[in-house]
């Protein structure tokens, strides 16, 4: 039996008593993320520690090793899949004090920041120097770069610039034995052999703890503008996206919401949505005025050819405002505006592009079967990183977590959805991280490759202290 009071004492010696707590009221705050996993089970950690330097992180990891206590690394806590939940309790390692932007190198178009830096801080530090950091999720104000690199997430600029993984040039990682390694450098080809970055990107802290990252930044586009279109279904909307791609358009934003999702996103702005809109697509372009104008004109032509109706400009603007959340706009977020009757969770499984409509229809059918008909959430389709062509579809499902029977139903529902996705030739998606929510089907999908993954885990984390019990690992 681990002596947790001794562990706490050792952690206090490292990080100071102000940054360590075993009080229940502090621990409960770290017992749940956006997913329903933290309501369905108790993932309350035993101790919280919030180190201020990567040296302190090294020492914390060494203690965890010595005392055989699992570590769950937390950033902003905005993860959506139960990614950092303390499945086996133990230590929550809160990284938010490692929050400094270390360098903006405009000559080499890089920015280097500690892992606990918020994405908004990185974005603004880049802008202050006249360059642009392209990963910008709705949670930018509070989510950290370390969390994003570990759990992924969607960027509003992803169609042009790609995943958050695509922004990475180098990482500093603390391994499970406390060893510090650096991978990559400032040049765009700093990987002399196997791409070791990929061991840690999207790994949700299971292979190592990211403490610092060097990221790509870009010349700041002089302007940006956007249009939105309503379509009768997903298929015609995707055809319009493909047509725009064939025409040479490279927009930075492609967000596709079904009506229910759009209604939810207009909740704060209260902008009316025209009738007869089933699917809506927001296209955003950046660059010179000429380039933006041409891109949006061509997208308009492609959309109208597929029967798309241009949506009113106030709706386009409200939609953009609701997803472009930053320091000056956080009062317009719908992410913050939650609901009191239910909590949304996600089905995050990627199916082949041609199956988006079929999968969406299946989801609606299943919702009816489960009796979830009067609900406001639906499908989200996001473009990136291959221009206007959408890469993922996911579904938001509101669950009345006040009733255990509804929580149980949610677990049955997601089982059916994930199974169907795999049957359709799809995959568990990493779009919002894997975490506890999506990991039950990892072994099935990977088949024999699962053994390789398990062996890697054993090699890199022999005592299994990193995110123990999550992501399909025991």
């Amino acid at each position: 039996m681990t002596d947790l009071s001794l562990v706490e004492k050792m952690l206090i010696e490292i990080a100071g008593d102000r940054h360590v707590s075993s009080e229940l009221c502090d621990r409960l705050v770290y017992s749940k993320d956006y997913s329903i996993e933290g309501i369905a089970d108790d993932y309350t950690p035993d101790i919280i520690v919030k180190p201020g330097t990567s040296d302190e992180v090294v020492e914390v990891v060494k203690i965890a090793n010595q005392m055989n206590v699992p570590i769950y690394t937390w950033g902003g806590g905005t993860s959506m899949s139960g990614n950092p939940l303390a499945v086996a309790h133990g230590i929550v390692l809160d990284m938010k004090r490692l929050n400094r932007v270390l360098e903006v190198d405009t000559d080499n178009l890089t920015i280097t920041a500690q892992a606990g830096t918020t994405i908004e801080a990185i974005y603004n530090a880049a802008l202050d120097k006249g360059v642009f950091f392209a990963h910008h999720p709705e949670s930018s104000l509070s989510s950290t770069i370390g969390g994003a690199l570990s759990c992924m997430g969607i960027s509003i600029y992803g169609a042009k610039y790609g995943y958050v993984y695509d922004q990475v040039l180098a990482l500093e990682v603390i391994m499970s034995d406390g060893q510090r390694i650096r991978i990559g450098g400032k040049s765009y080809l700093s990987l002399p052999t196997h791409n070791l970055l990929n061991l840690f990107l999207g790994a949700e802290g299971t292979f190592g703890i990211i403490t610092e990252a060097t990221l790509k930044v870009y010349p700041k586009p002089p302007m940006r503008d956007r249009v939105s279109f309503g379509f009768s279904n997903i298929t015609t909307a995707i055809e319009a996206c493909k047509s725009a791609h064939a025409s040479g358009c490279w927009p930075e934003t492609v967000f596709m919401f079904d009506r229910r999702s759009l209604v939810q996103y207009m909740e704060r702005a209260k902008t009316p949505i025209p009738d007869k809109i089933s699917m809506a697509v927001l296209f955003g372009a950046s660059g010179s005025a000429e380039m933006v104008d041409t891109t949006l004109k061509v997208i308009t032509k492609c959309s109208e050819k597929q029967g798309g109706n241009r949506l009113p400009s106030d709706l386009t603007q409200s939609w953009w405002n609701s997803i472009n959340i930053g320091k000056d706009t956080f009062d317009q977020s719908n992410f913050a505006l939650s609901h009191t009757e239910y909590e949304p969770d996600l089905v995050d499984a990627c199916v082949p592009l041609s199956k988006f409509q079929e999968f969406s229809d299946f989801c609606d059918e299943l919702k009816r079967e489960f009796g979830w008909v009067d609900i406001d959430f639906g499908a989200f389709v996001v473009g990136g990183p291959r221009g206007p062509i959408p890469f993922c579809i996911y579904f938001s499902v509101p669950v009345d977590t006040r009733r255990k029977s509804e929580i149980d139903k949610w677990f049955q529902f997601k089982e059916r959805m994930y199974r169907r996705a795999l049957e359709m030739g799809g995959s568990l998606s990493n779009a919002n991280g894997l975490g506890l929510r999506s990991s039950p089907w990892v072994q099935d999908q990977l088949g024999s490759a699962w053994n390789l993954l398990k062996d890697l885990k054993s090699l890199l984390d022999p005592k299994n202290i990193l995110n123990r019990g999550n992501r399909g690992f025991s």
Partner: protein, 377 residues
């Protein structure tokens, strides 16, 4: 007693679920105390688990809950009025007799024992008021209410204010009895004493037959214009005007002759005046009307303005953290290259000055009234 918080259960559950954290990154208490439980989101999680019985009210929870400057920036981020729920948590803790840390408690006990949060001899306050000629008047357009902080801590602010009002020929009189508005006690959850103060104030104004009240303390202003009706469960029987609003009007009517001031000024929005009362333009217009003044904005301004760190009893409860928050705000002001940081609240004034001193900043910190008073001809 905890039943009183049940109305927030759905909010708390929703907040605990979404975990957007927008309230956390801008929370002054969190910026100092560092654990997530100090941010609004953390407090709402605590509230949820209190209602579910997993947590019980105790001194540790009181320490987390009372560490809130009541600035309300969390409310701007959130669709819900989180600061209201936190305030009610303080009130429940207070009524349950769960002791908050000593500094907060002292505000309450001092107000109960001496009638003001500073434990000052109220007879001395009465003497200050009675020495002012306007306290002898039996009628006037306005009744000027002077708050405890002005009387016991920032008396030169009273001189500035009187100079301007007299120069503009404003008809006002002053009560000859010093009574605390109850705001400090209310902010630390002592609703009983805040109610007592509200009753005394109401009786005072009724006895003076005053229905137009003038105040220059942001805390008193919020109390009279917003909180009294909650405490008294009744519509206010008097209209409250902040002196900044009156100054704006006096300048518009050209009733003040103002000499030029060659200075760059930035304005700090007091939470009670800005976010809680919506007064953003008046102080800026007053400052901009001074010939030669260049008004510049801090990065965080108006409804997004960062707190000075003094509110909600935080300065009394955690003085070093409170001053560190003020120092951060002063740094923000310095970044504008302004030579003067102006504000319109005596609490902000004191804390920002202490914050500036803590980092050896030379920026001048002054109230709008004191800037103007030096320029009034």
């Amino acid at each position: 007693m905890i039943d009183r918080l049940e109305k927030y259960e759905d909010w708390a559950r929703a907040c605990m679920h979404v975990r957007c954290g927008f309230c956390r990154e801008n929370c002054p208490a969190y910026s100092q105390m560092q654990l997530d439980s100090y941010a609004a989101k953390g407090k709402m999680t605590i509230l949820y688990h209190l209602l579910r019985g997993r947590l019980q009210l105790d001194e540790t929870i009181a320490e987390r809950v009372f560490a809130c400057t009541s600035c309300g920036l969390c409310d701007v981020a959130c669709g819900y009025n989180q600061s209201e729920a936190i305030h009610e948590m303080k009130a429940v803790l207070c009524k349950q007799g769960v002791a908050p840390p000593e500094g907060y408690r002292k505000i309450s006990t001092s107000t109960r024992e001496s009638g003001n949060p500073y434990s000052a001899n109220s007879a001395e306050g009465d003497t200050v008021l009675q020495s002012l000629s306007e306290s002898k008047l039996s009628s006037a357009d306005y009744t000027l209410f002077l708050g405890c902080t002005q009387i016991y801590r920032e008396s030169e602010e009273i001189d500035s204010l009187l100079k301007i009002l007299r120069a503009a020929g404003v008809s006002f009189r002053i009560p000859n009895e010093q009574i605390c508005c109850g705001s400090p006690a209310y902010r630390v959850g002592d609703e009983f004493q805040a109610f007592e103060q509200a009753k005394r104030i109401t009786t005072l104004f009724e006895s003076m037959q005053s229905d137009k009240i003038l105040v220059s303390c942001a805390g008193c202003y919020r109390m009279f214009s917003n909180d009294f009706k909650l405490l008294m469960n009744d519509e206010s029987r008097f209209k409250t005007t902040h002196t900044i609003e009156l100054l704006q009007e006096l300048i518009k009517q050209k009733r003040l002759k103002i000499s030029p001031l060659n200075a760059t000024i930035t304005y700090h929005d007091p939470c009670h005046l800005g976010r809680h009362s919506g007064l953003y333009d008046a102080p800026r217009q007053v400052l901009s009307s001074i010939p030669g003044v260049r008004l510049v904005e801090m990065e965080w301004n108006r409804k997004f303005a960062k707190c000075c760190g003094a509110g909600g009893g935080f300065r009394a409860g955690k003085v070093e953290d409170s001053i560190a928050i003020a120092a951060n705000r002063v740094q923000e002001a310095k970044a504008t290259e302004a030579s003067i940081l102006a504000t319109a609240c005596p609490f902000c004034l004191r804390n920002l000055r202490d914050g500036a001193a803590s980092i050896d900043s030379k920026i001048k910190i002054e109230s709008v009234e004191s800037i103007l008073a030096k320029l009034v001809l």
